[in-house]
Subunit: 388 residues, 2 copies
């Protein structure tokens, strides 16, 4: 008998939502290139523009300030660059400051050379150290160009919410630009670009139930823009060339609309299940460490360490029990390495972490299955003190 | 009564093939991130690796030398860069030489600054001037770094086949690297990367009946590679970061397999229809100029000029007759401008061109409808000699 699978890795990628599936099935029948001027092209264009409004609404932005990309990683490589334009003038960014818990797509620094990227530490609680941010920006060499700061709204491993609005105040006091990776925040919490006072927001479709291969860079105006990363035919007002990914963009739009509704309808349910899950883990093994319990987190993520259980071993053990979860993030082609997030939080880098992440379709039965598997795996551990 | 539409703009984007549609419908049900190590992730990975073999087969390449991108434009921005690696060493490309009829994604020069890009002329017949190529490469300043040449296999507007293998000999005699945009050649003619002796080939999914938003950069080995354009989690062996566009890649793979079959089954049929079409156009208006009739062209493209008919006017007139065709290429967000291809061929830049491009699903009825609309539009023209 095939084992029913329990998918608890929504932060790696969310299953395609019905809303996105329906929209994409329709879109797959449209032959047009959205940049063609004939009827077929205009039909495709009308649908991508609807999607632009749907995705912009997710962060309270003006759709004209949204550039579709092939994903959040491309959006990061696009916006993280020393070369900007302010209207017709060139504007140089002298240095990029990234929090120590950013996703690799941001930590790599995009188009900045490595020597122009500075890491800003986080506190043991897993949030950016605002005093440290203040210090590095006070010491920033303005003669080299203005400062850019990249801070995620929600950490992908822990689910911990970062103090973005406070960071924005500090960044703007120093005349800098703030880029916010909201990939794991979208669909998990309300986001308003103006309230956060972010200059740019990065979004991904597939983390909110849309298709993979599409994302967005959202700005606040049209004047201040990074030099294009992908150049050619001049699509997306010249900011991002290449034939528009029509069905992907349409699926992203539908998923964004669904995510906003789900925030109202499913948010309490999801965080209720997460609390139930964590109570179950603690009951099964009192020594389990759940990271970020004392600070604000989104409701769908539980990142834990079970002493004596390596992440790799744990992930495989859960997989054999029919449960898909993750050891940190899913990038780097299957590599299961140490968590740079736990390290940044001052924890033992040898300590493995496992991430359970849920979504609107997660059920009580799913949570019960995870707790039961956890108990089994936990009970198999070597008794404490026994040599490895 | 709604007018039945006739889609004759396959070079802008091909309708999604049934093969791709079926593969994508299946793929849309797979929740996994292809970089996750759990069962769902491995299932997604197995399908993307199958697609890698399918797409590589389209150009006779080794699948391990294929990097999936978000499209041909990204692949061009990726490979057209002064910064390469040869194993662990850095390798500098001193200058990029592009033919004057390249697609804007190549003509823009990717990551080369404009002053490091040189255009190589084409003959009046619409093929690269090999003597001019020989001359510019002989004069290339080797001290600045090696030379890179970009030459398309088939021009997107005229369908004219370029002498790539001959150009490769010249390029390699001068120690250069040859990048071949095979976007419009794939599915229209047999392609073999070794026979062409191309160092890199650029492919697009949506021109061969796959989804938009996916393409590939195909190389000959693993040693010589451009510095990554999109950086982050290290997917695609570090050459292209970002969560893999699983359903897009799978659709591309299925379309590639179908395109190879269609080459055998439909190639003669498509070029037969094109010949029928051109005979019809010439019969309807003896002054029509069909570009590239005297040289080797792929069988699906007809690019013509009807004296006294502007491209914009012609395109709209055909659209009103229910026919989707194009004035040159579809990029640049609906912009209908002068054809740089006609200009490069030494023709009057004011002379407008209209492109009819077909595919395996094009029928005899479609061709008849185009000829009939052409006759109507042609007959409406001002009599020659009358003032504009």
């Amino acid at each position: 008998m095939a084992l029913a699978r329990v998918y608890m890795d929504w932060n790696a990628t969310a299953p395609l939502s019905d809303a996105a599936r329906v929209a994409m099935l329709h879109a797959l029948t449209i032959p047009g290139n959205a940049s063609s001027v004939h009827s077929e092209g205009r039909a495709a264009r009308a649908l991508t523009e609807k999607a632009r409004r749907q995705v912009a609404a997710l962060v309270g932005a003006d759709p004209v300030h949204l550039v579709f990309t092939s994903g959040a990683t491309e959006a990061a490589s696009h916006v993280l660059t020393p070369n900007f334009r302010m209207g017709r003038s060139l504007l140089t960014i002298g240095r990029l400051y990234v929090s120590a818990i950013e996703h690799p797509a941001v930590r790599e620094g995009g188009r900045f050379p490595a020597e122009q990227v500075t890491e800003v530490p986080v506190t043991r609680a897993g949030v950016i150290d605002l005093q440290a941010l203040e210090s590095v920006l006070a010491a920033h060499d303005q003669a080299s160009g203005i400062a850019m700061v990249a801070l995620m709204l929600v950490n992908n491993e822990t689910g911990i919410v970062q103090p973005v609005a406070e960071a924005a105040r500090v960044v703007h006091q120093h005349g800098g630009i703030l880029v916010v990776d909201a990939v794991q925040a979208a669909g998990r919490m309300q986001i308003d670009i103006a309230a956060l006072d972010a200059d740019f927001i990065i979004l991904s479709s597939h983390k909110i139930g849309g298709p993979k291969g599409v994302g967005a860079l959202v700005g606040r105006g049209e004047a201040l823009m990074p030099s294009p990363l992908v150049r050619g035919g001049g699509q997306e007002k010249g900011h991002r060339s290449g034939t528009e990914n029509v069905h992907g963009i349409i699926g992203f739009g539908a998923a964004a609309e669904f995510a906003l509704e789900a925030l109202v309808q499913h948010r309490a349910q999801v965080s209720g299940l997460r609390d139930e899950l964590e109570a179950g883990l603690l009951e099964a093994a009192s020594d389990v460490i759940i990271h970020g319990r004392d600070v604000e987190r989104v409701g769908n993520t539980c990142f834990f360490t079970l002493p004596g259980l390596k992440s790799e071993t744990g992930q495989i053990a859960f997989d054999l029990e029919g449960i898909a979860l993750s050891a940190g993030s899913a990038c780097s082609s299957g590599k299961v390495g140490r968590s740079h997030v736990l390290t940044a939080m001052g924890l033992d880098p040898e300590m493995g972490g496992l991430r359970i992440s849920m979504g609107p379709a997660t059920s009580r039965q799913d949570v019960a299955a995870v707790v039961s598997a956890f108990k089994k795996i936990s009970d198999r551990r070597r008794p404490a003190g026994e040599a490895a």
